[in-house]
Symmetry: C2
Subunit: 170 residues, 2 copies
C-alpha cells in the first residue's frame, strides 16, 4: 500500500491537526503546560482576544485535551482553571519538538527558550528519534514510512519493497 | 525568571506556531514528507482548494521550510515540485510526534497509520523523551521547565528554585 492510497481523512496526522492545527490552540496548550491556567492569565500572556480564547478553550475541551475545573469559589463568584487531561499531557512531546524547532531555526538566540529537565535527576530532556535497535536518528532522510504493511518479522531485517519517500532518498 | 515573564512574542513555540500552526500547512508538510511533491497530487490527496493550497505553499516557502523546483520541462510547460529544505526536514520529529498522538488517541485503530522505520536496520523509530542521564520519560509530570536560568552546574543536581509548572506537580 502506498502513501497516496492512505485514507487521508482517517490519518492520525489529519485528526491531530484538527485538534491542535491552529496557532492559538498551540499557544493555549503551551500556557497550560507551563502552569498558566486561568482565563485572564492566559489571555494576558498570549495577547489573544477574549472571544477567540473562549472559543479555543471550548474546542480544546470538546476535543478532550483540556478540562475546566472550578476552584476556590470566592463568595458568589466561582473561579475556574483549565487543566490538561491525560490526553492533553500526551501532547507534550509535540510541544517540546515544536519548541526545539523554534529554538534551532527561528529565535536567533543561542540558548533555548525553556530548558526541559527531569525531576529528581535535573538532567536536561530531549525529544529524540530512536530506533528499536538503539540508533539515534538526526536526519529524517534515514527514515522511511511503511504504510499498511503486515506486522514486521520477528527478526529485524529489510522488508520487501519498503515505501521510499522521495524526500528521504537523498 | 518565571514563565509568565518570558517574552511571548520571542518564544520558540510562538515562532514555530506561526510557521506550521495551521491545519493545511501541517497536511502539506505531511504530503511532501511522504514524497508527494506536485501541486495537483497534494491538492488531490488532502482535498484543499487550489487557492488555499497555493497560499499555504507560498507561506511555507517564505518561511524557509519548502522550496519550489522546476523539473523536466515538457515543451513549453515547466513543471514544479515542492521539496523540504534542511529547515523543513527538521520538522519531521514534530510531525512524527503529532502522528503518534493521533494514533494513540484519535484514529480508534490498533495499528499506526504509518510505521516509521530506520533505513538499513529496518527497526521501528519512535519519538522519545530521554534525559541526559539516560532515563526515558513517559509522563510529562516528571518534567519541569527552567526558564532563563544560568547554565547548569557541571555536576547534575537539583538547581535552586526550579520553575515547577503546576500541571507537572501532580
Amino acid at each position: 500500500m502506498r502513501w497516496r492510497d492512505v485514507d487521508h481523512e482517517a490519518c492520525a496526522v489529519t485528526l491531530a491537526a484538527e485538534v491542535i492545527g491552529d496557532r492559538w490552540s498551540v499557544l493555549v496548550l503551551r500556557e497550560v503546560l507551563n502552569g498558566v491556567r486561568r482565563f485572564d492569565d492566559i489571555q494576558g500572556h498570549i495577547g489573544v482576544s477574549r472571544s477567540v480564547l473562549a472559543q479555543r478553550l471550548r474546542d480544546l475541551i470538546a476535543a478532550g485535551v483540556l478540562e475546566k475545573r472550578e476552584i476556590r469559589p470566592d463568595g458568589d463568584r466561582a473561579r475556574h482553571e483549565y487543566r490538561l487531561t491525560a490526553m492533553g499531557r500526551d501532547l507534550q512531546p509535540v510541544m517540546h519538538a515544536l519548541m526545539d524547532f523554534g529554538d534551532r531555526w527561528l529565535t536567533g538566540r543561542d540558548e533555548p527558550t525553556v530548558v526541559v529537565r527531569h525531576r529528581g535527576c535535573a538532567a536536561q530532556v530531549h525529544v529524540t528519534s530512536v530506533c528499536d535497535a538503539g540508533h539515534v536518528i538526526d536526519d529524517p532522510r534515514e527514515l522511511y514510512g511503511e504504510v499498511g504493511a503486515a506486522p514486521p518479522p520477528a527478526v529485524p531485517g529489510p522488508t520487501a519493497a519498503p515505501d521510499l519517500p522521495a524526500d528521504a532518498s537523498r
